[in-house]
Assembly symmetry: C2
Homo-oligomer: 374 residues x 2
């Protein structure tokens, strides 16, 4: 059973769009001209096949091209390569849909936990989750642990490190992980709560595996990964590892160019929803409407829908809008995202200093009130 990718093709005519679709079917597989494709298995199975092509709008067409699971093997990176590797370099071409089919769905199981698993681990049975962000870069591990402790005391569901906390000398990854895990555990013991700590996975490539095991042994509750920099293969590797059994939250850094231009890259829901699920993310962070990045409410709605779609790929996951959330906007946000969502809270929260825990509590009350009012 083949899998299928839907592309939006910008072309002056259907004839040209069809030619482009044929070229994509070759480019993404054999990468040779049609006339020298070996007959038999390669021509019949490996080369992409145009399932259908239609007009969306003047100058804008939609082609569904199917590919063989044989072209992928078992690597998520090669799946992404077939979806859009070389064709990502062509103007006027955007990936707008993906249908894994039975075989690719079987090979790539997706998220280990998903929405239900994260709710179980946090103990937050209903309502949006609140996730303060530990920062700024430059603080010591002790200072970050203090913020984490206060946030956990205040009722945070997930305490996430800033994606800029790597392995810098001010707060090296392992020192941070030990101190913050201890601080959150102490707060949880005092409150009876279950605040979850997600450090940002750091280290050179050859250190990532050791750092993952270190984090697991230290008792972290999940891990933040930047697939745009570390690769989607790493997300897949963590999600599949029974010995880690850690939820993965993914961060959008370095992925901006994939969505910013409307006639290239991926639709917002594809890259911040579908591809994250395929790779195995349980929570997908993206820039919220009203924050610093200019995503529209439609963009964010598309991402949330792709994260939470009940028909796959894999388990439904939690969209995690960053920025734009505040007590004043809690009702708007709850109306927009519903309950299955993780709100990141950064600068606005940290401005509270030692009162950051109270700020988390206030946010929680505002969100519960907003959810109750709906």
């Amino acid at each position: 059973m083949r899998f299928a990718v839907s592309y939006r093709i910008f072309a002056p005519s259907m004839a040209e769009a069809r030619d482009r679709a044929r070229a994509i079917a070759l480019e993404q597989t054999v990468e040779v001209p049609a006339e020298i494709v070996p007959k038999g298995y390669i021509a019949d199975e490996i080369v992409g096949q145009i399932d259908e092509i239609g007009t969306e709008a003047p100058g804008q067409f939609r082609a569904r091209i199917s590919y063989s699971p044989d072209s992928v093997g078992t690597e998520i990176t090669q799946l992404f390569n077939v979806i859009f590797g070389n064709s990502s370099i062509q103007r006027g071409l955007r990936v707008v849909g993906f249908d894994p089919g039975a075989e690719i769905a079987r090979r790539f199981g997706g998220p280990r936990f998903g929405i239900a698993g994260i709710r179980e681990r946090t103990g937050r049975e209903r309502g949006g989750l609140i996730a303060p962000v530990l920062k700024p870069m430059g603080l010591t591990a002790d200072a970050l642990a203090r913020i984490a402790y206060l946030c956990a005391k205040g009722g945070a569901d997930i305490i996430k490190e800033d994606h800029g906390l790597a392995d810098q000398p001010m707060a090296p990854f392992r020192e941070r992980v030990e101190k913050i895990t201890a601080a959150v555990a102490r707060a949880n013991a005092e409150t009876g709560g279950r605040a979850q700590y997600f450090p940002n996975l750091a280290g050179r490539t050859e250190s990532l595996d050791g750092n993952l095991r270190f984090a697991r042994d230290a008792g972290v509750n999940g891990i933040l990964v930047i697939p745009g920099l570390l690769g989607f293969g790493l997300v897949d590797r963590i999600a599949r590892d029974d010995s880690l059994a850690l939820p993965v939250m993914t961060h959008p850094a370095f992925l901006g160019p994939f969505v910013l231009s409307p006639d290239t890259g991926f639709d917002h829901g594809m890259i911040f929803g579908t591809l994250q699920r395929l790779a195995g993310a349980d929570i997908s962070v993206f820039p919220n409407v009203g924050g610093r990045f200019g995503f529209s409410a439609d963009d964010c709605g598309q991402i949330a829908a792709a994260c939470r779609a009940t028909d796959g790929p894999g388990r439904a996951i939690l969209p995690s809008p960053g920025g734009g959330m505040s007590v004043a906007r809690a009702a708007d946000m709850a109306a927009m995202y519903g309950q299955d969502v993780v709100y990141l809270l950064g600068g606005s929260l940290l401005a509270q200093g030692e009162a950051v825990g109270e700020a988390v509590t206030t946010m929680r009350r505002a969100l519960d009130a907003a959810d109750a009012a709906r």
Copy 2:
């Protein structure tokens, strides 16, 4: 000593461009508003500093922002994160320059071999290098090894696998590596030549290290890596590994959106030249003018210049235009790229079937004649 990134900012006025630059300096480091940045070390050292800002054209400004090496640590991925992690998600912002400064230059040594090292390994002292591509996907390892043998006999300098050859059942990575290494060695023994075989690194994330060692032990001469999918950290990891000591050729798959829109992402020379060198690539593949991808001669010239700049970062490397090269165009290409270049030859060569070796020889003669005529 700080490092600096030059950004092109699209804004209606200098005042707004300056505000944007200030926001970038915060976004790429502390990611909190200016008023809550802790005074002292964080405000003075960690936060980005606007070195200069000027007008390039109406509505277009150029800001040079410097950052502390402390914000990076020792990870190439975190260096890229500081250069453009979150800011990659902003419209109207493009990275156009990079100055590593002494400290970052010391931490990231760049390519192990560079132009001189590759010339030494291939024995090609002058003139452009010829690199046939093994494909299409779907052939068996034996069939690919046959093509490799013929190309090596014909005088190929580097025999590169198609970036779509991963670990598929038709020709698994390890089987391919063994058979093609043997085939190229046999041809080299027969000709006295030094054709170099670069397989495409494949495997799930947890298998990459083992596959690298397997390839080294099998006797490959270099390795093709797709940083857009596997991460630039992997390039860095290979380049620094004395026990591998393998040249790295990088492939542009999945990086298209970083250059296609003129007001976001990176300049062509930055992402296909400077960043590749920083990560440690010895040869950087990009789509040639006149091929299937619409890069202009200016784009390609900018990439070649960034690859070969003698003032770093790290050693000068070989630009490797893919597509657009033929016997008929040899003189044009030699005029455009000079001698320090690796020409990829794909579909046009493979159309020759069993005569592919003769086609390589013919291409070599055409290129030598073109070089001699200049």
